[in-house]
Symmetry: C2
Subunit: 185 residues, 2 copies
Amino acid sequence: NVAHGLAWSFYLGYLRLVLPRLENSIVAFRASHQAGCFQGRSSRKLLILIPLNANIAHKLEDEDDNIRFYDNLPNSEIDRAGVRGRVYKHSVYNIFDENGKGHQCVAEYATPLLTLYNMSQESSAGFGEPERRQQVLLFYRTLRDILEQSLECRNRYRLILLNDDHEEDPHFLSKAILRHLQQQE
Amino acid sequence: NVAHGLAWSFYLGYLRLVLPRLENSIVAFRASHQAGCFQGRSSRKLLILIPLNANIAHKLEDEDDNIRFYDNLPNSEIDRAGVRGRVYKHSVYNIFDENGKGHQCVAEYATPLLTLYNMSQESSAGFGEPERRQQVLLFYRTLRDILEQSLECRNRYRLILLNDDHEEDPHFLSKAILRHLQQQE
Ligand SMILES: Nc1nc(=O)c2ncn([C@@H]3O[C@@H]4COP(=O)(O)O[C@H]5[C@@H](O)[C@H](n6cnc7c(N)ncnc76)O[C@@H]5COP(=O)(O)O[C@@H]3[C@@H]4O)c2[nH]1
């Protein structure tokens, strides 16, 4: 089951490395950026976006004009499998609510979903569009269970499962993120 | 089958992005580094190291003192799944032969093997050490078949399968790489 392996890979090869460093990254970021960022309803967790249709954009701001790229967190450089100083980074976004107030968060799509999407388009990869939604759900559940057992990653992330039947709403994504930011007060 | 998905992920999420840019990267590198690098028996292909025991080092020079880190190729920055300007880079190594002559190459381990190794150590991941070797072979064969069909990646890589029964030889890795460099003359 492809999704099972991708969830483990995402944890073992990425989240387990970057989540323990996230808090320090945000502290360094606040020190070098405008006063007031990452306050109030902002989140210091990595928001991991999981759209059920695996339809991943490369730029969040292209999906919703209430989302604006703010800046990147400082890079982490880690020697990995022969690549010296491989760079790991996250992007900070300003999410605007209906009152025009901005809330900072560190957000990104779950990259392995790109693999699921692309595999479903390649006939030789062995699975097609009908199986893809099932695989996304399996990815989500496997990842959720792994992260719940992980001491290093505890409280440093939120998985945001995005149902795609609201896609005609041009502010669907910002509202989904704001709902999650609100929930953690 | 975990290895099948990891091979597709490695191709779709990495090799398909970076291999078409490799030649230009090496040209830029030669322009800013010592005359004579990447000449002769050196290779302009990405050497992808696949040890059968999935035992991956993070620094090649730790494995064999005839291997020395030279420098990194220039970074590529690509917007990916909400991470703006995600960095992709490769490391250049000097591989010394028995005559003390150095040959430059761009080499790295196939990072997904780290996932296979780590999964075999986690009891909840669902497979153990006995299955791991089989999974490495499946990864190698799947990747080889995908790359052979890929127009974008043609002639820009070499897969180097490393048998682990020569590991008492302290120069096993440099000799294995040199054999492959020699073969392409
Ligand atoms: N958002 C995000 N930012 C990152 O820096 C990052 N690095 C990894 N990942 C995701 O975590 C998982 C484990 O990564 P691993 O390195 O074992 O496999 C990687 C690795 O073998 C190779 N690869 C990708 N980017 C690089 C890179 N920059 N250098 C070397 N290898 C790379 O191709 C595989 C698939 O990559 P992605 O499909 O981008 O998603 C990966 C994967 O799902 C990332 N996800």
